[in-house]
């Protein structure tokens, strides 16, 4: 177990990077604390896997340092970093049986035979493959292979951390759920630092205590699932987390706060104060569909809007509302009913209306 500190880390796959667009990871500082269960969430190609490979040592960062418990490990190979990693596609040693596969990392570490046996048995039980232990690994199905591959990552007890690179991609949804729970249990049981890379927010929030959202080579927010949902630090987090994502509208300054087209949005005094100190014109407001209030009667600061579309998702509905030239999505109860084309009244609760300047959230100073 170790605390993993990435210090002014940056990485480029090109030999002579000429600008920020050449970097897979842009300058970042980040600490993965000892014994935490973390998810690294982001779209494909944002640098998640690169970061994981830098932690494990498969990739050498072009700039910055990787520290394990404060000790620089840049020059150490993966074997010396003593780290386990599970890859996106199952890697199994196909000339060996399942048992031999699981025992392989232990054998390489010169663990005594009796201990190997007990440990392999344990892990096989957790992954529910104990009946396949003596099968040749190459005759397994794709998800069994991935379980074996995962088992090899979990079988060592003394690792600094276990890294998962989208390990459940090839596994069917039913089993995915189960395995994710298993991983969580293993984490609680052994208290190992785990970093789980995924592009699936549900996967991230069920597995991790804290999620790092990565976008364009940077970690734009590191927080609990609730924080990511309620206080998205960056417009990308707002857009990426949640289904559907946050409503984001380009706005300009006005007296009461901001406006888009002829629609004025009243902001909190501290937001306006903050805004007045900045000169940027890249302003956005964001509000989650879940926090938009809709009523049939007008209220203070409510807007009359047209219902453009309605999607019934079983337990709730998503409605599209036309406000000025913008379309807002709102999440309403299953029993809410309004005809398309009818007019309703919408309120943007100030505590849930986020103001973004240059894509980053303006936060209240406490």
């Amino acid at each position: 177990m170790a605390e993993i500190h990435l210090k002014s880390l940056a990485h480029s796959y090109s030999k002579s990077p000429s600008g920020p667009e050449d970097y897979a990871i842009r300058q970042l500082d980040h600490v993965w604390h000892k014994g935490g269960a973390y998810a690294l969430l982001g779209p494909s190609g944002c640098g998640k896997s690169t970061m994981l490979n830098i932690i494990s040592g498969l990739v050498q960062p072009s700039e910055g340092e990787v520290l394990f418990d404060g000790i620089r490990v840049n020059a150490l190979s993966p074997r010396d970093r003593n780290i386990a990693q599970v890859f996106q596609f199952p890697v199994i040693y196909d000339s060996m049986t399942v048992y031999q596969n699981l025992a392989f990392p232990l054998k390489n570490n010169k663990v005594p035979a009796a201990r190997i046996k007990a440990r392999v048995q344990d892990i096989a039980e957790v992954l529910e493959i104990e009946d396949k232990l003596h099968k040749k690994a190459k005759n397994l199905t794709a998800d069994e292979k991935q379980k074996v591959s995962m088992g090899r990552g979990l079988v060592r007890e003394d690792v600094s951390a276990i890294l998962f690179d989208e390990p459940l991609t090839v596994i069917d949804p039913q089993l995915k759920w189960k395995l994710r729970r298993k991983l969580k249990q293993i984490h609680e049981q052994f208290d190992i630092t785990m970093v789980y890379v995924t592009h699936d927010q549900l996967e991230a929030s069920t597995f991790a205590d804290k999620i790092a959202v990565m976008y364009d080579g940077q970690i734009v927010q590191f927080g609990t699932p609730t924080e990511l949902f309620e206080q998205p630090n960056h417009t990308f987090v707002g857009y990426f987390i949640g289904s559907p994502g946050m409503n984001l509208i380009d706005v300009e300054r006005c007296e009461a706060g901001v406006r888009f087209g002829s629609v004025e949005v009243v902001l909190e005094p501290w937001q306006i104060e903050h805004l007045n100190r900045l000169s940027s014109t890249n302003l956005k407001i964001g509000i989650r569909p879940e926090f938009i209030e809709i009523g049939l009667e007008p209220k203070v600061n409510s807007y009359e809007v047209e219902v453009l579309d309605m999607e019934d998702l079983g337990t709730y509905k998503i409605i599209d509302l036309g406000l000025g030239d913008e379309t807002l999505k709102a999440r309403v109860d299953e029993d809410f009913d309004a005809r398309i084309g009818s007019r309703v009244h919408l309120t943007l609760p100030p505590q849930w209306t986020m103001l973004y300047v240059d894509e980053f959230l303006i936060q209240e100073q406490s």
């Binding site: 993966p78 990693q85 060996m96 591959s149």
Partner: protein, 288 residues
């Protein structure tokens, strides 16, 4: 889609049939034809049944050269397969160095057999050949035209030089086909170099090694030109291998019946052993 039965489609097989007939069947049947007759001259052929086969199988000269042949092929496989794997493992993975190595390694393969024989005949000479002279300078009494052991070593060395590159190239291509992820996983699992070789590289080289073993066995079992040029089969008959014995019999002594019977047996041995190799290896694969 419904299939329309039309027997005229069989005509489409004709070109292949003709090709195989002229390239394999007809020549083979000619040999079979010779093997059961005693031919004294044009129009003077007598059917002798299996007599030639019996004679060939009990011929001591042939038994000797068969034994030599097995020894030679065995030695060739034992040396060239591990050496080829070793060379392939040591070659750079990519880049200009990799290409350069490939070219260097492949050069012996491009040299015609009889030239290889001639090169070594001169190279290994004690008086003007660099190799032979060098060894003699070291104080070792080396003379491949006089000593049986030296002749054998020279023939083996020549074959290793000529054909190990084939094994190396095959293995190299097999190694390059292993996805990087396996090496990464092995690195993460802290596998030693030996474990990587034993559990990742070797199992994945299996299919190319089957080809390499078969090719090297068949080729070495039928070796003719190089030892013929290098030692002429000597000293005595110590490096006279099967094909040379056969050629002497067929062309030198014009003993067509005996030579034909012998060729058939020779052919069957190669076929049988290749088949044994192949089934043994593929069967081991199917277990479990």
């Amino acid at each position: 889609m419904d299939k329309i039965p039309n027997n005229r489609a069989w005509w489409l097989v004709l070109p292949v049939f003709l090709l195989v007939a002229f390239s394999a069947l007809i020549p083979l049947m000619t040999v079979v034809n010779y093997s059961v007759q005693d031919i004294f001259g044009p129009g003077q052929a007598y059917f002798v049944g299996t007599e030639w086969f019996k004679e060939v199988l009990t011929d001591e000269r042939l038994q000797d050269s068969l034994l030599r042949q097995f020894l030679f092929s065995g030695a060739v496989l034992l040396i060239q397969i591990p050496l080829g794997i070793g060379v392939a493992l040591m070659m750079p993975k990519s880049g200009i160095k990799g290409s350069l190595c490939l070219i260097l390694v492949a050069i012996p393969l491009l040299i015609p057999w009889n030239v290889v024989g001639t090169i070594w005949q001169i190279f290994a000479r004690g008086d003007i050949g660099l190799f032979g002279w060098g060894i003699n300078q070291l104080g070792v009494d080396y003379n491949y035209t006089g000593s049986t052991v030296d002749a054998w070593l020279t023939v083996l060395l020549m074959d290793v030089w000529h054909w190990t590159p084939l094994v190396a190239l095959l293995c190299y291509s097999g190694l390059r086909a292993i996805p990087e992820a396996f090496y990464q996983a092995a690195e993460i699992d802290r596998a030693s170099k030996w474990a990587v070789f034993r559990y990742i590289q070797l199992p994945r080289l299996k299919s190319v090694l089957i080809i390499a073993v078969l090719l090297r066995f068949m080729d070495s079992f039928m070796i003719y030109t190089e030892p013929f040029v290098l030692t002429g089969g000597g000293p005595g008959s110590s490096t006279t291998f099967l094909s040379q014995t056969l050629t002497t019999m067929a062309i030198g002594q014009f003993d067509l019946g005996r030579a034909a019977a012998f060729s058939l047996i020779y052919f069957l041995i190669v076929l049988l052993i290749s088949w044994l190799f192949f089934t043994a290896i593929t069967h081991a694969d199917k277990e479990q």
